[in-house]
Each structure stands twice: as C-alpha cells, then as structure tokens.
C-alpha cells in the first residue's frame, strides 16, 4: 500500500504578527502541524545606528543609543558612556555611579514587566498584562521625574549623569519598592502554578547550556539554561560590587525556567535599588569634561549586563570629536539566532510561547 502523509510546506509568520513583538518574519517549514525548520528574517527596523555614530560627536550620539533597545534605554546610555569613559580614562563620581545603578535597575524592572505582560498576553492571559503596566507606569513616573523622559531617556553623560535626583525622588522610590514587593507575588499567584500556564511552558523549547554558549546567548536566557553567569556579579562594573543580590538560575532550560528567572530577577533588582537608595552618598554628579570632547586615540570594548544579556560597545577613537567606529553588540541579535534550535519539533502555538520567552526586542536586533 502506498504510504500516506502530507508534504512539507512553508508558512510565513510575520512581519506583522501580533506575537512577533515588533517586525520579525519567521519562515516556518512545516510537516503537518510540526515545525521542521525555521528561518528568522530580520532587518525591518535597521536604522544604521552604527553608521550614524560615525557622523555624530560623542555627546550627540547618546540620544541615538536610546533607540537601540528602547525598552531598556538606560543600559544603552550606560554602556556607551562607560566605553567612552574607559577610552578617555574618566573617573565617574560615586554619586553618579549610584544614580546609574538605581536607574538601571528600575529600568530592568520596567523592562521585565513589559516582557511579563506581553508574554502572558501571548499565552492568552490578559490580567497580568494590566497588572504589569500598572506598576511600570509608576517606574516611568519616577524616571520622568528625574530626566523628563519616559522611554528614550538620554539621561547619562560621559562622566556622570545629566542632572541630580530631585528631592522627592528618594521617598517616592522607597514607597514604590515597598509597594512592588508583594506585587511580584501577585503575578506569581496568577501564573507560576497555573495548570494552563504550566502546560504551555513546562518542558517546551529546551535550550541546553552548550548550544546556548555556542550561539552566544547571554542574560536571563543563559541563566535559565543553568549557567550562573551575571556580569554584575562576576565582572562588576560601576558600583555593583557593593550590593548584596543573588543570581537566579534555571535547571530545565525550558520556557518556564526563562519565566521564573526573570520573575526572580525583578525581586533582586528591587533589592539592589533598595540598598542603593539607603547608601547613596552626596557629592558631584558629573566629572568635568572639556566642552569640545576628544578622547585620545585607541579602542575599547566594554560590556554590561543589560536586561536581555550582554550588551557590548566597541568604540574606536581617532582623536577627533567624532567616533571612528562604534560597534553595538546587542544581546537580542545573538539570542534570536538560537531560536531555530529551540523551536524544531514544536507546534506554532508553542513557537509563540518560546519566542516570547526569549524576550527579543526587534530594534535591538536590527540596530
């Protein structure tokens, strides 16, 4: 008897698909309902940020860094300023470093909240989305109070930050921290042990440690694969070595692990902000730099732990006011490249969960 079956066929998902979080196109090769192979097609948000860098002064480029990853723009500001400071040998005042850490960690919580909201929305749970945006709004208010912006902050400068914290900031932020602690339990109560959620995430989209490293996957996705690696702890920059926090890791390397790692990271980020607010010193907020800023000739590669993983800035100076070359090493770019490894053998509905759990931000991929 003749063998019956279906032929393999191609399905196009995106670029305009509600669960691709921006504009990403996935070409799926399907065998019935099962994904045989997948090709991510990116570049829809390519804005030539590296080319623009070669045509702007160092200071003019800081607002552009906001646009690399607009969900966690503080990290992009921080990374670029740090790279230039290393190159020019500038010491950042202590208070400025504390402010940077506070802003980074608040931004990390805000970014994880967006991720959690959209992740649960992709899985069909609408309530967490509303909860998350309620809390994120409070963080946005805190940051707006400080730098006047809510998304693209343009807050950090080479040598420090652009302005000091306003008087009301510290009491307001402390209030938020106390308010936020039980909120994380609230999200967990809806999702963590929810049987539908477990069915959608447990054991789905496994990315083992070896493959993750091979694809340069970093950040929470790598930690969910079981490697205890966090630049804030293992290669401390700024003043991170002064704070007490833990590195959450996963054991099963699946979608659920990537979820729980980020949930715990929000708690840890909250702890860091709390400690930083208690111990922030008085003093200068910006090192003195010349009005026409020219770092000496040389090159530097600096990396920080952004929300999505290792964010690297490779800056080359030829001694003029304009960078000779800026390379942006973004975490999402490498994380997305590993998606086919995770998605093979799963169904499209699972792909939506896997893709969302990676926390890829498309402008971060395309730059």
């Amino acid at each position: 008897m003749e063998k019956t079956g279906t032929e393999e066929f191609i399905v196009n998902m995106g670029p305009q698909h509600p669960s691709t979080h921006g504009v990403c196109r996935l070409l799926l090769k399907m065998d019935g309902e099962v994904i045989v192979d997948l090709v991510p097609i990116v570049g829809y948000l390519h804005r030539a940020l590296e080319k623009i860098a070669e045509n702007r002064t160092y200071l003019q480029y800081i607002p552009y860094t906001d646009r690399i990853d607009y969900v966690s723009a503080m990290f992009c500001n921080h990374g670029f300023c740090m790279a230039v400071e290393k190159l020019a040998g500038i010491e950042v005042p202590e208070r400025a470093e504390y402010i940077r850490v506070i802003m980074d960690e608040l931004n990390r919580i805000a970014s994880h909240l967006i991720w959690l909201g959209t992740f649960s929305l992709d899985l069909g749970a609408v309530t967490p989305f509303l909860y998350c945006f309620r809390e994120r709004e409070m963080i946005m208010d805190l940051i707006e109070m400080t730098c006047g912006q809510r998304i693209t902050f343009n807050y950090m400068r080479v040598g420090g930050v652009s302005r000091d914290l306003p008087d009301q900031f510290i009491p307001k932020a402390k209030e938020f921290i106390e308010y936020f602690k039980p909120r994380v339990d609230e999200y967990e109560a809806i999702l963590t042990e929810n049987p539908i959620f477990l069915g959608r995430t447990k054991g789905v989209g496994i990315l083992d440690k070896k493959t993750a490293i091979d694809y340069s996957v970093t950040g929470p996705n790598l930690r969910a694969s079981g490697l205890k690696w966090d630049l804030r702890k293992k290669e401390p920059y700024s003043v991170y070595d002064r704070f007490d926090f833990e590195i959450p890791t996963g054991t099963k390397s699946d979608t659920w692990d990537r979820y729980i790692v980020r949930i715990q990271e929000m708690r840890q980020a909250n702890r860091i902000v709390e400690q930083a607010l208690d111990s922030i010193p008085e003093g200068e907020i910006k090192a003195k730099t010349k009005p026409v800023f020219k770092p000496p000739q040389g090159e530097a590669y600096v990396r920080i732990e952004s929300t999505r993983g290792e964010m690297g800035f490779y800056v080359i100076s030829d001694g003029s006011t304009i960078p000779y070359r800026v390379k942006l090493r973004t975490a999402s770019f490498s994380n997305l490249a590993a998606l086919p490894e995770m998605a093979r053998g799963w169904k499209i509905a699972d792909l939506v969960a896997i893709f969302a759990s990676l926390d890829v931000i498309m402008p971060d991929v395309d730059r």
Binding site: A48, E54, K86, I213, E299, R303, Y314, R329, A337, R367
Partner: protein, 155 residues
C-alpha cells in the same frame, strides 16, 4: 597568572605570526595572519588552558586602505577575554569561523553585506539587515556615498 600566558600559548603553536596590539577592556589583544584565523580561533576554543567558548562580539573596521576584522572572545571557565584581530584587503576573502562558534553565522552575514568581505565556506551567505533589493554598495565603508547622506566635517 594565566592571562600573561595566553599570548605565549598561542605563540608556541603559531610562531612568528602573532603580534600584540593595544586594546582597552580586554586582557590581551593580538593580530594574526588572515589565512590562519580559523585555525587560531579553533585552537583558542579547544585548548583546555584557553577554552574561549563565547564569541562575545565580532566586527569589522574599514581603514580605507585595508579592512580589519576583530573577534572578541571570552572564556566562562577561566574568565579571561581577548581580542583577535586580522587585517585583509578591501573586497578580501576570509575563512568563516562558524565551525568554531555558531554565533559567528549572523555576525559574518552582517559584515559581508555592510563591508563587502566574502566569508569562505559560510553555511548561509544571505544578506541579513539590508532590504532584499539593495543595490547601493556597502554602506558601512568609509567612502560610501548615499543620496541623502551628508558627512559631518571632522574637527
């Protein structure tokens, strides 16, 4: 301790082909011959004393008379980081390092379309970031001219 030895270990394997260069933010940086790049990368990954398992960053710089490709490597085991550089002619060819790290795949595709370098034995040499019908050359080159592109004067 091992950090000073990295260059020595590589030099023992590839004598007279290694030249140290200044670089801020890494333990050590050196330049290798372009024909050796894949061998050096595989050596750096597989030697137990080096074990550079993470290709942290890979990029290209246009120096107008030549191109330079830079590999930033990191080892989770020993926690040391290096940069390997190699220089080649414009429109030059370079061995793909995808046999060592899969992460190089997308990075090389990006460099190939933006700078015009060909990577030999690349498993998937399609463009990645630019539009499908792009025919205006290699935009990251220093002498690239685009119709809306105005260069800022250097000071």
């Amino acid at each position: 301790m091992i950090k000073e030895n990295i260059v020595k270990i590589v030099q023992n394997k590839f004598p007279e082909k290694i030249e140290e260069v200044p670089f801020v933010g890494v333990d050590v940086a050196f330049k290798v011959d372009k024909d050796l790049i894949l061998k050096v990368c595989q050596f750096a990954k597989e030697t137990p004393e080096l074990s550079f398992d993470l290709l942290a960053c890979m990029t290209c710089i246009d120096y107008v008379d030549h191109m330079e490709v830079v590999y930033n490597l990191f080892s989770f085991t020993h926690r040391h980081k290096i940069a390997i550089k190699t220089s080649l002619l414009r429109d030059g060819e370079l061995d793909s390092v995808t046999p060592a790290w899969n992460a190089a795949n997308w990075h090389e595709r990006e460099i190939a379309e933006l700078f015009g370098i060909t990577f030999k034995n690349h498993p998937d040499p399609r463009p990645i970031l630019l539009p499908e019908d792009w025919d205006e050359g290699f935009p990251m080159r220093k002498d690239w001219e685009g119709k809306d592109f105005v260069r800022l004067p250097k000071k």
